[in-house]
């Protein structure tokens, strides 16, 4: 018998997780947000080319059907919102294929919630409240800053105006000469590269960073800003350079959602990525009417990493992938 059967994280971490889950539920109970459950196995899944999913086969002899493990519970939760659920939250597992590292485990715990009538600012305030509640053993500064501003502060570049020469010169000056070859003329890729290499590591400690108004090319499932179409109503929350979650003023326009699905499906086909069909149920729900709302998903395991000052996600999981 080997020791491989034993959990990798300490009992203390297990207790910490249980306490955190209880505190999250209390937080939302006080605010009258309804806890819900939605399926992890669905007929469709997200089309985002940057997310790889797990595919499974459901056997109902003599038929077989493809079911996808969800990369987040977003689509099903939006169907509940369209059906009149009111504000809701969920704590569940999410699955992302190929993601394994110091901050990634392919199966992880998500806290996802949607607030009816909230705009981006209100949701950012609530995220800061929640994090300060869950990480109450330390004092946190809350810093709200626009993507364009923090990007300029850290790189001297304008995130909204792509100038390959300037971007490349910045990368070279940081000892990242490979960036030009890697990112080429892809503005969104340059932003991902420079943000993860120059912005994230430069963040002050003991601060909850709320970075809002992402460039429109990184809008994901957010609406565009009604005043400035170059900006998306999206924010990211980070602590110690660790990305905790993405929040959106949710896109409710069925036609635009379908156009974004189609563009991503096209991209997948062109780049030889696994094919996926768009979620017709979600499109129908948007057609029926999604109330104005903002929503966010937060990685609970990473929150536990911060709470317990763990260096790797594997330290807060009983059985990370290699041991599952």
């Amino acid at each position: 018998m080997t020791n491989g059967w034993q959990p990798l994280c300490s009992l203390e971490h297990l207790r910490h997780r249980a306490q955190m889950l209880a505190a999250i539920r209390q937080f939302f109970a006080q605010r009258q947000v309804l806890e819900v459950e939605t399926p992890l196995l669905c007929h469709a899944t997200g089309t985002d080319p940057q997310l790889d999913f797990f595919v499974s086969q459901y056997h109902a002899v003599p038929h077989s059907q493809t079911l996808y493990l969800q990369t987040s519970p977003e689509f099903a939760m939006k169907r509940l919102l369209a059906a009149g659920s009111g504000s809701i939250y969920q704590i569940c597992k999410a699955f992302r294929n190929g993601e394994s590292g110091r901050q990634h485990n392919p199966e992880f715990t998500i806290l996802e919630w949607y607030r009816l009538g909230f705009d981006l600012q209100q949701l950012m305030d609530e995220v800061a409240d929640l994090l300060q509640t869950l990480l109450a053993d330390r004092h946190w500064r809350v810093s709200k800053i626009s993507y364009r501003q923090i990007f300029a502060d850290c790189t001297g570049l304008d995130a909204l105006v792509f100038d390959r020469q300037q971007y490349a010169a910045c990368a070279v000056s940081r000892g990242l000469a490979e960036a030009d070859n890697l990112c080429g003329d892809d503005h969104a890729l340059w932003l991902d590269f420079l943000f993860s290499h120059c912005v994230q590591p430069a963040q002050d400690a003991q601060t909850i960073w709320l970075i809002y108004h992402y460039p429109a090319i990184q809008s994901s499932l957010a609406r565009l800003n009604s005043q400035d179409q170059r900006l998306a109503e999206r924010f990211e929350v980070l602590i110690d350079g660790i990305e905790l979650g993405n929040g959106f003023f949710e896109l409710a326009n069925a036609a635009e959602q379908e156009a974004r699905f189609d563009a991503e499906i096209r991209y997948r086909r062109q780049h030889g990525l696994p094919a996926v069909s768009k979620d017709q149920h979600l499109l129908d729900a948007l057609q029926a009417g999604l109330p104005d709302c903002s929503g966010i998903a937060i990685g609970v395991d990473r929150l536990l990493m911060i709470a317990s000052r763990a260096a790797a996600i594997s330290e807060v999981l009983a059985f990370p992938l290699g041991n599952a």
């Binding site: 590292g101 960036a179 890697l182 990184q218 993405n246």
Partner: protein, 189 residues
Amino acid sequence: MAIYSTNEFKGGLKIMLDNDPCSIIENEFVKPGKGQAFNRVRIRNLKTGRVIERTFKSGDTVEGADVVDREMQYLYSDGEFWHFMVPDTFEQYQADKNAVAEAIKWLKEQDVCTMTLWNDSPLSVTPPNFVELVITETDPGLKGDTSGGGGKPATLETGAVVRVPLFVQIGELIKVDTRTGEYVSRVKE
């Protein structure tokens, strides 16, 4: 030669980078929730010994480097090259100054060391972590001083110079840590 994807990167993997053989030290997966995944990799250039950081797009591939470590015996130097032999097979290799570098100052003839070969050519030589060598030259010590405080330089039979305690004398055999170049102890013969 094999092709490796970033997913296969791990400490010790030998790859080609900028036409030089390199060894991966550490591989960090960096992925924004909404965006491109990268691998930020710390790499040692096996020719120069320099450590650099390099980012790859996750899923990109690189060519493997044909780099192997072999135990060899140091035979002799002809002034231009240093000659080594694989004890089991008697295969001989000649290494140049760049390959033997600092390592040679810890080796005397017949000593066994690790030779790193790239495409079957000597790339670098690593001496054992600890070697035992005779002192050929050092100032006379102070009688009765066994504290070792301060110390003095001593030249060893291979030409290497290390700091030794004051009580250590010419002709004595000492043990040295080649990774730090520091004296460890006297050796009783």
